[in-house]
Every structure is written in C-alpha cells, then in structure tokens.
C-alpha cells in the first residue's frame, strides 16, 4: 500500500496540480475570512447564506477560526474535484491497466490512492488554516474585534478542533469524489455530477423543504466542518455523513475490484 501511496504522491506533486489547487485554497480561505471582517457591519450579513456573525461572536475564543470553519465546504468541493479527477483519469488515460499490472491487488490500489490524496487534503487544510487565521488576525483590529481570547488555552483548543473537523469534512468530500470517479470513470462526469449536486441540487431541495438538510450528504459534511450548525447537530452530521461515505465506498470498491478493465 505504501508503494501505491508514494507512486500517487508523485502524480499529486506535479506543479500544475499542486500549485493550482493550493492557489485556489489560499484565495478562497483569504476571501472567506476577509469578508467575515470587512462586511461585519453589512446589513446583508457577512457569512454563509446572509448569516450575521457579530463582534461579540468573533471576539470569543472560537472567533479566530470562524472564517476557517466557513471555508470548509469550499475546501471540500476542491477536494472532491481533485479526488474525482485523480481517480477517473486512470480510466480516461488508460493508465489503470499499468497500475493493475504493477499492483494487481485492487484494494491496495484504492487504499494507497486514498491515503495519498488524504495527505494532499491535509496539506490543503493546513494552508487554509494558516491563511484563514492569518487573515483574521490581520483584519480584526480594523473591524474592532478583540483577539485576546483567540490564542489562549480555549482558543488553541478551538483551532485544533476546527482543524480536525475541517479535515474530516474535506476528506469526506474527497472520498465522495473518489467514489464518483470510480463509478462514472470520467473526470468531467464525476466532477460535474458532484459539484452540481452539492451546490445546486442540495441547496434547491433544502430551500423547498428545510427538514431535508438533516438528510442531504453534502449538508452533513458541511456541518462537520463547522462543528455542527443550528439545524444539523455535529454528532448527527458525523454519523450520517460517515454512513453515506462508508456505503458509497463499499459499493464503489466492490465494483472496482470486480469490474473488468477493458479500456
């Protein structure tokens, strides 16, 4: 499995992919955190779906990671795209047959790939944490938000907890991308389906019937990143999101292990 992982990391470190992805991570992380502080007095809100996060919330020990937590879903969508493309491209390039000739154990191929892409996702989350928290620290004085509690014992705990939550969520989103890549065997189809579902279909369904937010897979993963939302509790999101990912992983892995490789 480690051979597969190191081989996959060689593909993931290519400059066009690595720098492009990290560039997007830095951009969105800086944007989300900046908006949180720059629009703090805006009547249209300064957070997700027009929510208002005021000075009193931002000055708490969790204030420094508010921006980081809210960018989690976007990081997840980036991870979904990367995981889906890295998986499905093996079919479109025809390179899967090379992989299977050199490592015939298909389960090891999947585990090694997932491990390597999880490392990539971890680097993404680290970059995002540094940029988000850095931007928050830089913009807090201008927004008249005190930062005294951000780096105390509770603040450091909040940073660690948010980091873990965002990482779990991002790897969850990425795994969904990998599942779609394995099932659809085309990067374009896998990414289109995943992004359309998460950004449009789920939001439309939730807008029509609010209670479905408790059941939509993307909403669960997004809630994990934020440590739970007012409508979806953290434990519910963790359980249900985990179930969705587990079920998808089992189905797609069994398909992958049994399917003929004829392209």
């Amino acid at each position: 499995m480690f051979n597969v992982m190191f081989a996959e990391l060689r593909k993931l470190r290519r400059p066009s992919l690595f720098l492009g992805t990290m560039g997007a991570v830095v951009f969105f992380s800086a944007l989300f955190s900046s908006l949180l502080f720059l629009l703090i007095d805006s009547p249209q809100g300064n957070s997700d779906r027009g929510r208002m996060i005021g000075r009193e919330v931002l000055s708490l020990s969790t204030g420094g990671v508010q921006g980081f937590a809210s960018v989690g879903t976007f990081l997840g969508i980036i991870a979904l795209c990367v995981f889906a493309a890295q998986t499905a491209q093996e079919y479109t390039y025809g390179t899967l047959r090379n992989l299977l000739i050199r490592q015939p154990n298909r389960w090891l191929i999947l585990l090694g790939k997932l491990k390597a892409m999880s490392i990539f996702a971890t680097v993404m989350v680290i970059f995002s944490a540094i940029v988000s928290i850095g931007a928050s620290v830089a913009l807090a004085p201008r927004a008249k938000v005190p930062t005294d509690l951000w780096f105390g014992a509770d603040g450091r705990h909040a940073i660690l907890q948010t980091f873990i939550n965002v990482l779990v969520s991002v790897i969850g989103f990425g795994t969904v991308g990998m599942i779609l890549g394995l099932i659809l065997r085309s990067p374009i189809s896998a990414i289109s389906f995943g992004v359309l579902w998460l950004l449009i279909v789920e939001n439309l369904v939730i807008a029509v019937k609010n209670s479905t937010e408790n059941w939509m897979p993307g909403a669960q993963l997004a809630a994990i990143a934020q440590g739970g939302t007012p409508t979806v509790s953290y434990s519910h999101a963790l359980f249900l999101g985990g179930m969705y990912v587990l079920a998808g992983s089992i189905i797609s892995s069994v398909l992958f292990a049994r399917r003929d490789v004829s392209n």
């Binding site: 060689r10 290519r14 390039y93 050199r102 490592q103």
Partner: protein, 301 residues
C-alpha cells in the same frame, strides 16, 4: 518447475451471447519469442488482458510462469507488459512516468534512466509525455514493460508508429531479451516482422485458436509455389499441362502459371518447357510466408 511461459486451456471470455475468446488452448515454451496473430477483433487483446488479470475469464484455466492466472499477484512482478498501446500521464515527463510505475512495483528508481537510454529516449527523459511523437510513446511503453527485468514480456503491437529503424531496433531488442532467457509474447500486424523473429506462433480467428506451435511447423506445412511466365502468353496453357502432367497442382493467374511444388522442381520444369520450345521469361520459386499463410488460415484478405 514448469517449462512453459504461458499455458492456457479452454480459456474463454463471453460478452453477452458473443464469445470474444472461445476455448483457447495453447502453450508458449520458456525462452522463446512467440508471435500472436489474428485479424482485428479476433480476441488477441482480450486474451492478453485475461493473462494479465485485467479481465476475468468466463471459463477455462491458465498458467503464467507456473502460476495460475487466478493469482496475478504471484506472477506479475516477473512480467512486463504493454497492452493496447502505451498509456501514461500526459503532464508528467517520460522519466517521471516510469518513476511512478517503478515506485508502484517496488523496483529501484535507478533503473529508469538506463531503460530510457536503452529505448533511445535518454535525451528526452525530462520532456513531458504529451510532447512525445507516437514512436516515442511506443518506446516509453516498451521501457515501462522492461521495468521489472521480466521473465515474460507481453507486448501488444509494440512497433505501431515506429519508423523502419525503430522497428529494426525493437526486433533486435526482443531477440536480445529472448537470447538472455526472457520469454516474449508479442502481437503485431507486421507479419513479416513476426516471421523474422518468432520461434513460435499462436494464430487466432474469431476468438478461436487456429494454429499454435513452432513457426517452422507452420511453414513446413505450406507448399512452396513456382511462378512461371513465358515470353508468349499463349504458351501458358502448355506450361499448365506440363505441371499437371508432372503431378503438381497448378493454375493460371495474373499472366503466370502458379505451380505448387518443391522449389527444386523448378529446374525440371524449365527443362521440360525448353524441350517443348517454350522460352520462360520468369521462373521464380516462392517460399511460403507468414502473411500468405495467415490469410489462408484466417480467411482474411
């Protein structure tokens, strides 16, 4: 220990109602170059994929280097393969692509540069794969197949896209590998090339094996043809009669008499023609070749 590189018995693959490969049975001895031929769609690539564990046979058994094809992990570390053309990551260089495969298979990365030199890509090792010509891609595919220092090399159309010099190099490389004890199983449409290098041949037609055995046996089973032309085309029926009288099967086509018989009989044929006053403008004993045999056996033209 088994003395066959490949051994399959009743190997079949069925898609829906159609057999892509039907009850294929053949053996390839160790240390030989075995040509694998058949018209398009005859099941060559499907057979190779079954042997490499990429697709699961519907029925039948097989062994590679003495191990059952049900356990590809036991023999693939000793097998190099290029199936259905080269396939690599376009944005990685040739060397990086091989590094990925070397890392995956647990082979030393130090082998990569040497292999690239061996296939003539040493000076383009750092160029991206997407900038390679078809011939260069093919060479990279061969280098990838050589990564494990294979005991068995399986190549599907390795000379596709190569120039005549490249084809000659591949032929020499395969011979060199076979002389060093590597068994080579190679499919190609260039039958004249296979005829030059193969010791053994497996021929498929519509998913069925129509011949499997030493190349020499196949050629010996084919009758040579003597082609005779006269200055006067009106003499052709007389020449035909002479050949038939001598007990040989003969026909007139393309302005010449084609006689099936041993090459040595050409001398007697010339003398007999001279004796009846016919002056031959051409007398050519033609030995059987793989291409002609292939068309006869597969019914393809």
């Amino acid at each position: 220990m088994s003395n066959t590189a490949i051994s399959v018995k009743d190997l079949s693959k069925k898609y829906g109602d159609r057999f892509a490969v039907s009850h294929a049975t053949f053996e390839v001895p160790l240390g030989t170059i075995c040509g694998f031929v058949g018209p398009n769609g005859s099941g060559k690539t499907t057979t190779m994929r079954m042997l490499l564990g990429l697709i699961i046979p519907t029925a039948g058994t097989g062994e590679i280097l003495g191990e059952s094809i049900q356990h590809p992990n036991r023999y693939l570390p000793r097998v190099g393969a290029m199936i259905e053309g080269p396939a690599f990551y376009p944005t990685l260089s040739g060397a990086e692509n091989l590094n990925v495969l070397a890392r995956l298979g647990g082979f030393p990365l130090s082998r990569v540069q040497g292999l690239l030199e061996q296939v003539g890509l040493g000076d383009r090792a750092q160029s991206k794969y997407k900038t390679y010509s078809l011939g260069m891609k093919q060479r990279l595919g061969i280098a990838a197949a050589l990564l494990p220092s294979p005991k068995l090399l399986m190549l599907d159309e390795p000379t596709n896209g190569l120039d005549p010099e490249g084809i000659q190099e591949v032929r020499a490389l395969l011979r060199l590998l076979a002389d060093g004890g590597t068994s080579v199983f190679v499919s190609s449409h260039l039958l004249s090339e296979l005829e030059l290098i193969s010791d053994y041949l497996v021929m498929l037609r519509k998913g069925e094996v129509v011949f499997a055995g030493p190349m020499q046996n196949l050629m010996e089973a084919q009758q040579p043809v003597i082609i005779a032309k006269s200055l006067n085309e009106g003499d052709l029926p007389k020449l035909l009669a002479l050949a038939l009288k001598a007990g040989h099967h003969a026909t007139i086509r393309d302005g010449a008499v084609h006689v099936q018989g041993p090459a040595q009989w050409a001398v007697e044929f010339n003398k007999a023609a001279f004796d009846v006053g016919i002056h031959l403008s051409q007398l050519t004993p033609q030995l059987p070749n793989l291409e002609k045999t292939f068309f006869e056996m597969t019914g393809d033209n």
